[in-house]
Symmetry: D2
Subunit: 353 residues, 4 copies
């Protein structure tokens, strides 16, 4: 495998990155890159508003495509992307990297093999951060709907929706709310064009926050499980705090990203006086992906979720096989996001298409 | 203070309890008890369907009344109870004992003194148990709407609603769902009359579960904070698992009943490299109620929440002063429960009256 | 059972306590009390220097005796006490209440039934507090060797030695150190006589601390297990922090008093990908002492360890049976304490007698 | 910087590693490598018995040397290595990578800036693993004193001794024990020559374990702090479990490697009702090494401790500056190991040279 071309908008920055990360070439012309016959795989890490165009063009050129989540700005874009990769019959993947946290992969195994029983009652997930609690934090692209599509909903809510779909199944209906706690923020020095300046505060130009700061909703899975999900950027002290709990008819699983090497497992069939959540350190040779990493207890971190993802993707491309999560998963995720958005706007329960 | 009369339906059982717990007299006639001129305080610990009648009669007789939560079967009953105690001008309290967990009382102090900042963004609470996950668990009174009013909603959901009202403020609107996972259960030997037998399974008569096994809802407080609450009896491994988190503009608090002596506190104004949730052991002399108990770190438990509650109530009666949570709080709680019930039935957002 | 007579040195204080706690009589004459033919049980909660005299006299009068730990000031006192209760054939118990923490009782059960395997490799225990870290904390009786015998060694070290003997077996030899970090402390207002004033600081009279602030030692059990124990009153943030870990050939147990309702258990025979420490909430009906307390997960605390102890003692007296830990256990504990003291003085390994 | 030559004993294996890890050349002749004028840095990752020879030769050739811990098999070897690097004036470092865990680097900062106060009372550390609990685990090189020097003592005990020296200061004296729980183990297929076969069990040839399975000791630092350290490979459920606690006159720090991104900090000067151990997620921009890694809360792992170490080493070599921990640190560590070994043999307190 070769690191062929790294591509970006700023020539100097791209060249710097090329040298730092060891790519052969640098480019600022993505259309040329996705058309380059020497290139087999295109990995799209741009802001959300360019995912569709690049992915579709890459697929049209027969490239295997790995695209950052969220797949698109809306359902119709995502559907077009799915159509493009399917028509081109290229291997495609949306980068929901958290599926390949070893603890999550172990959870998947345990649910599939019946460890939790034949019914799932609850899927409860929360993704909490605190990086924009300060009202002086500027109006970055992630806070602008034109570029980001949505706020917490698509940025971090999308992750726990994807994990719910992966671990529990398809979501049938949702009802919830979106909230923007801080509605105006200072523009950064370089900002302005395209953003409506809504006033000034302390000498700083202020712009409108056009995405949600928090999302909270309840829902039902098709298999009858209940969903309760919340994502927020306003939880002081929570840095990248993804907490999940899944309750089945035979046991429960719990996970906390801030303790990424652990999966908590309660087996209701343990002897009565010896029942308790087990804190499994998911670094043992018997665990998913563990063979690629360090001895038991030696702890892996955030970037390994990407490494595991890319390794599976590259193997799938080499083998010409499909690999989850596909663009179809990305589209389905987008449908849930759209349903939540609609529910928040209309104050109704919304069926997921 | 004297333990004057203990009252129940079964004479033998009441007498046995009288001896065991050191009461002076035993009775099976509650009307006589609440009319007894020697008695100043009536404490009502009966199932929910008799709270109203006994409370109203006790108030009419000028007794101070302490009533188990939930206050009543519905809003109109609760309103009648409030009217009765107000008319009689008797000290009244609904026994939401968890307000007097020292960690909760400390949380209240910290919110009131501005420690969390001038805005609360999130109140998130969950009350999870697992005692009826087994489908063979019988149809006890708590699973019958005629006696219990509701299931998890009124039994345990009511607690975390009360804590939300206590710590954050009044709830403005709610939207959510109720679910019954196991719809039929075996009748106990002695049951049957008044319960519709819906079939039999493995030779056992089966009855209809007429309450909810789980409740999950989102909402908004009047002060703009978001609410996300869930209560369930179907979470394997969770025994009396009440988890709260409150995120304010300056910090966060978190609590877990299974670690009842702790309050987690994050102060966003700590130096940048020394910020983290503090695990405060709430047994220090400076903490609420700590003076009544053991040296720091020596741990108190479940019953102490009742002791603290009763102590405050008795002091209030002696002083002729009001003491929270009053029947008015019980009524307001009931309005939230009613709104959730209506939201679940109608699939609509419902304003709390 | 009757609460017959409460006895102390200060008549007014004793009378106040009598009323508060519901005793029939108050006395300041312990010799009269232990000779009173109406009395069957004598419970000795005095400072350590009077344990021997009272216990021996009570035994001579045929009373069942429950004595606070540490049993005595030294081995010879303890031996005399054992001789006295054995000669009198009275039920006797030293109040090592932590044996009856339900989690510890469960640990005992699991070790006895072979759950940890046929070999124990390690017993590791620490008892950490922080109540005298402030150099201005006065010279209370616990810091004076004449009254207390020793400092952390006998006060809190004795507890974790007792738990080691209870759970693992007899200790064969020890080697360790004692340390006094703060060697002079202010006298309390009322102190002075009998204490050598060694100077003054900031206008306060200072006295010599004559006990250890910390003890730390390694050792070997007769069965080959290794011991590592530490007790200190100089660990900021640790309030009543008893942590134990026991590693056997098939599994491990861990306990932390600050989470008293939990026992951590690792079973090496769980399936490879599902191994982890289980956090058992020791409130289930299947657990020791749980039947006497609240529903699962509803948490008990410090005083319940005494209640459990007294209940077992009273039942034993009623049945005329021996009940552990006996004075013999107290003596054996004292021998370990003595060996540690000697090891610290001589800088030698010392065999426990 | 170039990855010039990778060197090992087995040509095929080295070539495979060369390709996998992107080195320019492969070699099986270490003498040629350390003499190669194109090479500036030699990183020695061989078993312990070849550290001295290679290091000395590399230094003689003017190479900067990074050597795996433990530095040598004994004090005299280590002293010769120190002499060699000092004579050659080459940058030298022993790879105690755990010093550059961000949480440990933060602890160092906090101790140096007086956060814990002017006195340290306790340094308590434990390094527990369970990878050889199975008696059928074979007699690998780490279990043979000729190759490994010692067992847990030098392999993992050395780490927590180094952390103690780094964080608290020089150790003055020690007293403790070494233990070998399983004294004979099966030889691996390829083993035998050089190992005395002591018998056979179940058809397998058995060899003598000549190192310690566990070490446990107490000690004193020169500054008066007490040390209590334990290392074992016989603690079921503990995988790479390094736990530290440091108690100072103003506060405490605690660390657990299995939660490597956290440092627990107790500040005795926090307001009385808000004191508790803070769980600091050490990924913030204000933390050591955090700038090189992911956003706050995104978690790093085991290998990052090496990356941080190598980065600091390479910068030091480029700048021609010394970088801790030097070979001198490695030597001092070896002296502590030797003192413990001697203490275990002689059952005496031993002063560290």
């Amino acid at each position: 495998m070769r690191l062929h071309t790294i591509c970006g908008r700023n020539a100097a920055a791209v060249e710097k990155a090329r040298v730092k990360f060891g790519w052969e070439r640098a480019s600022t012309d993505w259309r040329a890159v996705v058309a380059d016959p020497e290139i087999d795989i295109v990995d799209i890490c741009t802001p959300n508003d360019s995912h569709a165009e690049i992915s579709i063009e890459a697929a049209r050129n027969g490239k295997a495509v790995l695209c950052e989540k969220v797949l698109a700005l809306d359902v119709s874009q995502a559907a077009a992307m799915v159509a493009a990769v399917n028509k081109a019959r290229v291997v495609n993947m949306v980068c929901h990297n958290y599926r390949r946290i070893p603890a999550i992969a172990l959870a998947k195994r345990m649910i599939e093999d019946g460890t939790l029983g034949d019914r799932i009652y609850h899927y409860r997930a929360r993704y909490a951060q605190d990086w924009i609690t300060n009202p002086d934090f500027p109006l970055v692209w992630r806070l602008q709907s034109k570029v980001a599509g949505s706020g917490t909903l698509g940025d971090i809510g999308a992750h726990i929706i994807d994990l719910g779909r992966y671990l529990v199944g398809e979501i049938k209906e949702v009802c919830g709310l979106l909230e923007t706690f801080i509605r105006e923020r200072p523009l950064a020095q370089s900002q302005g064009s395209g953003l409506s300046v809504v006033g000034s505060k302390g000498g700083k130009k202020m712009g409108r926050v056009t995405v949600d700061d928090a999302v909270s909703f309840v829902g039902r899975f098709k298999n009858g499980a209940l969903a309760n999900l919340e994502a927020t950027r306003f939880a002081h002290g929570r840095k990248n705090h993804i907490t999940l709990e899944i309750n089945g008819s035979k046991g429960s699983l719990a996970f906390n990203f801030e303790y990424i090497n652990r999966l908590e497992y309660y087996n209701s069939e343990d002897p009565a006086d010896r029942r308790g959540f087990r804190s499994i350190i998911v670094n043992d040779g018997s665990h998913p992906y563990a063979g690629a990493w360090w001895p038991n207890g030696h702890i892996i971190g955030y970037e390994h979720t990407f490494t595991n993802t890319f390794a599976d993707f590259v193997k799938a491309v080499a083998a010409g096989k499909s690999v989850q999560p596909t663009f179809e998963d990305g589209l389905q995720n987008q449908k849930v996001l759209a349903a939540i958005g609609e529910s928040a706007r209309t104050r109704q329960w919304i069926k997921v298409e």
